[in-house]
């Protein structure tokens, strides 16, 4: 009877979007002040509408961020979870009379604390419970994804199950009966394809209904196997009244049996010695219970999906099967990976470089125009504005095509699901340095920007792998550094620019491999870390998700150009004109000249080149900004790269590019390294790269000039 009472509510809210649902969702942006610290309503919300707080949870690779992004639009309030550096995203959606505050929880496979993410999710549910939680699951990977649902059911929060990527299920030949799933779970279920904006409004309506009238009675929950009930009862009795009251006792008992490290620590700290001894005895006697508990959740999943999922027969070849025949093949897969890298590189050169040159030329023309327009200004002011700010920032913004293109390629590879294949293919090579395939992912990301790459090392479970990978990531040539090469190489090397640039990247990768081999021997080995990684099913990227990825990444680059690089350009201009107003006798020249003996070993006797390298610490693209400032006063109609090339022998130009590729991490990367691994390793990283870059610079210049190149 209960079931039948539940059904109509489901139909109205989840399966017939045309019914009782506002025609359009209107997106509102929250500013920083719009939030109260803890779970309240935004301070500025109108009195007419109530704000309903809904969290979005899900395992990785279920398209959770696409769901959140599609619901909230481009502008979200992004911060960090209190005390953690994990990204916290919030957005407001106006839905009929109500304002929904959506909170994007970090993607986690389970709620056992392996890392900060799991802890965030469960602390949030315990201490600031939202009015409903949307759990996103993948249609084609339903069984495994329901594991998180099984865990979330232990909390006293109304759940809505959002079955996403229905299109992937169709392309994999997986058939789903969502009515049966909803009946079996006793939870509202909504179908969607978030990448195509399908089913989102129905999902919101469904979540809202669930938040208003949660129905707990029908819900099917995983229960402990009968043989574990006594031990859970004993644990509950032991913990009752002795631990902070926010924790549901049965859940806590289960998590202790599962061996959750943080909760065990919390419980142990709260117990008196006698109770502690009893706890340890109980946990020790039931050491293997975790397998039954986890197994029990999968038993429940099998039960609720029994009549739901119809998979194709094993001999039917799906899209993922077909692509993986090549992409995960030991030989073909490697070839595919190399081809992808090669094509990416070629695209950047073929398409982006001409645009970069055009924009850089435009900047110089603009500077010339500005010079006549601002002729009436005091010399120092127009100098600062034109030679400092305009030349510096303009040159950096000229890189934009390289960034956009690279992030587009990266976005496609990520969205399609290729990244994990690259990690799978590279696993055997990474083993040579005592790492496994997963370490390849942050390194791969490093081609975009080293900061997310350093953050990406969090997917590695053990400290040794993390530290080793963190030391290697800042050596990966990021778009900014590749951009500097793309900008200068044509003037330095003429028709051989593309080839030499490619060889420079190959050299860079070899340096990374060598350093990996050396570090792999120096840093003490432990038991090899476990390699367990999900390979998401392939799906077609959509223009919208791709545009969002590119925008999200490019925006931070533009913001950097508008803030740090703007300041640095002004600073470089000031230092190159103080105290006398003449660059040749400025503070910067003095510093640069001090380094000339070292520089001349690399053919870089010109203080301006050394200064450009030094200021690349601010941001790698600042190399160009600095050259722009320092060369600004010279010939007005010669392009900057040609001006620089005229100062350098080809061997010195080569050495310059090598050094700037391998030079110390930029400020943003360094602070990320410090945050992730501590000052000690961050310093090691700086010293290592200082030694490597200068060493390689000297070697390349000496060899190149000996063989007559230059």
């Amino acid at each position: 009877m209960k079931r039948s009472a539940f059904r109509p509510a489901f139909r109205a809210s989840c399966h017939s979007p045309a019914n009782e649902i506002p025609a359009a969702t209107e997106v509102h942006i929250l500013d920083d002040r719009g939030y109260l610290e803890r779970g309240g309503t935004p301070a500025g919300s109108e009195a007419s509408g109530r704000t309903v707080r809904i969290a979005i949870a899900g395992q990785p690779n279920v398209g959770k961020s696409t769901v959140f992004n599609s619901l909230t639009g481009l502008d979200q309030h992004v911060g960090n979870w209190p005390g953690k550096t994990v990204e916290k995203k919030r957005g407001l959606v106006r839905f009929g009379q109500v304002t929904l505050e959506l909170v994007d929880l970090p993607g986690t496979y389970s709620l056992s604390a392996h890392s900060a993410e799991e802890e965030i999710v469960r602390d949030y549910l315990l201490f600031e419970p939202p009015e409903a939680v949307i759990v996103v699951v993948g249609a084609a990977t339903l069984e495994r994804n329901l594991y998180l649902v099984a865990e979330l059911l232990a909390f006293n929060v109304p759940l809505v199950v959002a079955v996403n990527m229905m299109d992937v299920a169709a392309s994999e030949g997986v058939e789903l009966d969502l009515q049966s799933l909803q009946a079996a779970l006793g939870l509202p279920v909504a179908a969607l394809t978030a990448s195509r904006n399908e089913g989102l409004e129905a999902l919101l309506a469904c979540a809202l209904t669930t938040a208003r009238e949660p129905r707990a009675a029908d819900i099917s929950r995983p229960s402990p196997r009968p043989e574990h009930r006594p031990i859970i009862r004993n644990l509950v009795r032991l913990l009752d009244g002795r631990i902070p009251s926010a924790y549901p006792l049965e859940w806590l008992a289960t998590k202790l049996l599962e061996g959750d490290p943080r909760l065990t620590q919390m419980a142990r700290a709260s117990l008196a010695p006698a109770a502690l001894a009893e706890l340890d005895r109980l946990l020790h006697a039931h050491e293997d219970a975790f397998l039954d508990i986890v197994g029990g959740r999968y038993d429940w999943i099998r039960e609720v999906t029994r009549a739901v999922v119809r998979r194709p027969r094993p001999d039917v070849v799906s899209l993922t099967d077909r692509i993986d025949r090549v992409a995960t093949h030991p030989a073909w897969g490697l070839l595919a990976l190399m081809t992808i890298l090669g094509v990416t590189f070629w695209l950047i050169y073929g398409l982006a470089t001409p645009m970069v040159n055009l924009l850089a030329g435009g900047t110089q023309m603009l500077a010339a125009v500005a010079r006549t327009a601002l002729a009436a200004w005091p010399a120092w002011l127009s100098g600062l504005a034109i030679d400092g700010l305009l030349s510096g920032v303009g040159m950096v913004l000229a890189f934009l095509p390289v960034m956009v293109l690279f992030f587009a390629v990266l976005g496609v590879l990520e969205d399609v699901g290729y990244f994990a294949r690259a990690a799978y293919i590279m696993d055997r090579f990474m083993h040579a340095i005592g790492l496994h395939g997963k370490s390849f992912l942050p390194l791969f990301l490093g081609f975009g920007c080293n900061v997310p790459a350093a953050l990406g090392t969090r997917i590695l479970e053990d400290r040794r792998s993390r530290v080793l990978t963190l030391l290697l990531t800042p050596l990966v040539p990021c778009t900014a550094r590749l951009g500097v090469i793309a900008f200068l190489a044509p003037a330095f090397f003429g028709s051989r620019a593309a080839l030499i640039s490619f060889l420079l990247v190959v050299l860079n990768i070899l340096v990374i491999a060598m350093l990996g081999l050396v570090l792999g021997r120096v840093v003490p080995r432990q038991a090899p870390p476990a390699f367990i990684m999900e390979l998401p099913l392939y799906h077609l990227p959509t223009a919208r998700t791709l545009a969002r990825f590119v925008w999200h990444n490019t925006r931070s680059f533009v913001e950097k150009a508008g803030s740090i690089i703007l300041l640095a350009s002004a600073g470089v201009w000031a230092l190159s004109h103080l105290p006398t107003g003449d660059p040749a006798s400025s503070v910067l020249a003095w510093v640069g000249r001090g380094l000339e003996p070292l520089g001349s070993l690399m053919g870089l006797g010109d203080w301006r080149m050394l200064t450009a390298l030094l200021t690349s610490f601010v941001a790698k693209e600042n190399t160009i900004a600095t050259l722009g400032v320092l060369f600004a006063g010279q010939a007005q109609h010669t392009p900057l790269p040609a001006l620089v090339a005229a100062q350098l022998a080809p061997a010195a130009g080569l050495a310059f590019l090598v050094v700037q590729l391998l030079f110390i991490p930029c400020a943003a990367t360094l602070s990320t390294l410090r945050q992730e691994a501590g000052w000690r390793w961050a310093s090691v990283s700086v010293l290592l790269q200082l030694a490597i870059s200068i060493g390689m610079g000297i070697a390349v210049f000496q060899v190149a000039s000996r063989v007559g190149y230059g």
Binding site: R144, G295, R428, G437, A530
Partner: protein
């Protein structure tokens, strides 16, 4: 689940490509076992081996998802070759 014949028992890293097996249990360290279990390699789960060359990681299908699994980890999963169709499913 009917008890399988002991003779067919092996570890996942020994299973040939294309075969489907049932998980019997996990051996080895607690931390790795926990992660394997979370990803669905629990007793009585059905696992298909998609890739398994003489060295390098395996590729398996389990609980509707695909997993890359190091050889060492795969060697910790005790499995039995699935007995001929017992009628259900």
């Amino acid at each position: 689940m009917t008890p399988p014949r002991a003779s067919a028992e092996t570890v996942l890293s020994q299973v040939a490509v294309g075969q489907t097996v049932l998980v019997l249990g996990l051996q080895g360290g607690r931390a790795v076992s926990e992660r394997l279990a979370e990803f669905g390699l629990v007793p009585s789960a059905r696992v298909s081996v998609l890739r398994n060359s003489s060295h390098g990681p395996l590729l398996v299908a389990v609980q509707g998802s695909r997993l890359a699994l190091g050889r060492g980890e795969a060697a910790k999963v005790r499995v039995v070759v699935e007995p001929a169709k017992a009628g259900h499913e």
